[in-house]
Assembly symmetry: C2
Homo-oligomer: 211 residues x 2
DNA sequence: TCACATCCTGACCGTATGGTCAAGAAGTAG
DNA sequence: CTACTTCTTGACCATACGGTCAGGATGTGA
């Protein structure tokens, strides 16, 4: 006998609703910016009355904060690849792949992040100053080690990191421009692969890490 | 005898006020986004009463449109360098310099542009589809010629352009993040030079255009 | 000087938005 | 079953915003 649609438990209800709201909020914040987003729009997209949003998230700011924090977590996770790699070809190559994949699968998140930083990080400045600074210093050390081991050219690790972020996130943040220049169509699988290959090729060769 | 402060002519008044308003608007739109910006904030920054803004620019949209169009013009101008260059080292090198300089001197403009594109270009979509497409195709042809002449590797010109845009504009759009990672201080002259040098070095070597 | 066009601005208006609330529906635990 | 906690939602509120307008100030051209 198939499981009947028994009523959801309170815990499940809460989890599910928070998930639905956060998902809708990310989309709306990405498309309209914080100022342009309205609770009503988010509510409609989530399929809930507006008052229900305020039951789970007291204010628009609180909801936005949660969205940004979730994105930041994703962002950091993509970087684990970096540490275990024996050299720049594997490490940076895999990092580019991972970040390009995020840009493809999760463009709204990338846009919200970009918007937040562009507006001087009113909500996550403390994260930038602590977690991001630590993370960056750690990766810079890894890159410096590769340089010392002669596995790549003497490049300022800082600017290399900026370049990696800029290039990979560009495919999400400026995805609309890229689509327009692609005749109005989203990039195909092959085009995404070509993009990844181009980025990896130029950067890895550019830092003297290939062949 | 020094020129007395004679009253401004109507024409001068109009020019000056439009300039002041557009300048303030660019800053506010960059910092708050279109939705977050208010006419009152722009008016305060411009030092004019709000009603005066509506005298020169009928609506918030009209004002925003003018700001974005001005930025787009700047953006295109930076590209003339491209055409006269004998090869990628000079052409792309100078283009990177020019765009980095814009990012440094004119970060608000870059942010407004980024925001506009991120929100699916509600205001300048027609420009993207015409002027930008033409411009891009022209530059792609130049790059392809360099490839055919053996002056650089066989790289998809499209992705190279995206990389140039992404990397150079990153220093404006994510300037706040970069400052935070720089200990909270704006980049010094030397640091800007180092940034330019890193970007040029990695890209030019990465496309096989150096030595 | 005078008639006119342009510029200026405080006061005002309609609307949309973030947020509240009270009363009821629905799951829960003893 | 009962007392409870949690969830739901239409109606409501105060505020802030984009935009208007009338009437005065200021430059202009004859």
């Amino acid at each position: 006998m198939p499981q009947t649609a028994r009523p959801l438990s309170k815990k499940e209800i809460r989890q599910e609703n928070e998930r639905v709201i956060l998902e809708a909020a990310e989309k709306v914040f990405a498309e309209a910016g914080f100022g342009g987003a309205t609770m009503q729009l988010i509510a409609d997209l989530a399929g809930l009355p507006k008052a229900n949003l305020h039951y789970y998230f007291p204010t628009k700011e609180a909801l936005y904060r949660q969205v940004v924090q979730a994105i930041f977590q994703d962002w950091l996770k993509a970087a684990d690849i970096f540490d275990d790699a024996p050299g720049p070809v594997e490490g940076i190559g895999a990092y580019i792949d991972a970040k390009m994949e995020i840009s493809r699968r999760h463009p709204a998140g990338s846009k919200v992040w970009a918007s937040e930083v562009m507006h001087r990080a009113p909500v996550i400045q403390d994260y930038l100053e602590t977690t991001l600074v630590e993370w960056t210093e750690g990766r810079m050390a890894v890159i410096q080690r590769w340089i010392d081991e002669g596995k790549m050219d003497q490049i300022d690790p800082r600017h290399l990191l900026y370049m990696l972020w800029a290039t990979t996130q560009h495919y999400a943040d400026f995805g609309h421009q890229i689509e327009t220049l692609n005749g109005g169509a989203a990039l195909s699988d092959d085009q995404w692969e070509a993009a990844k290959a181009s980025v990896k090729s130029i950067i890895l060769k550019g830092i003297g890490a290939e062949s």
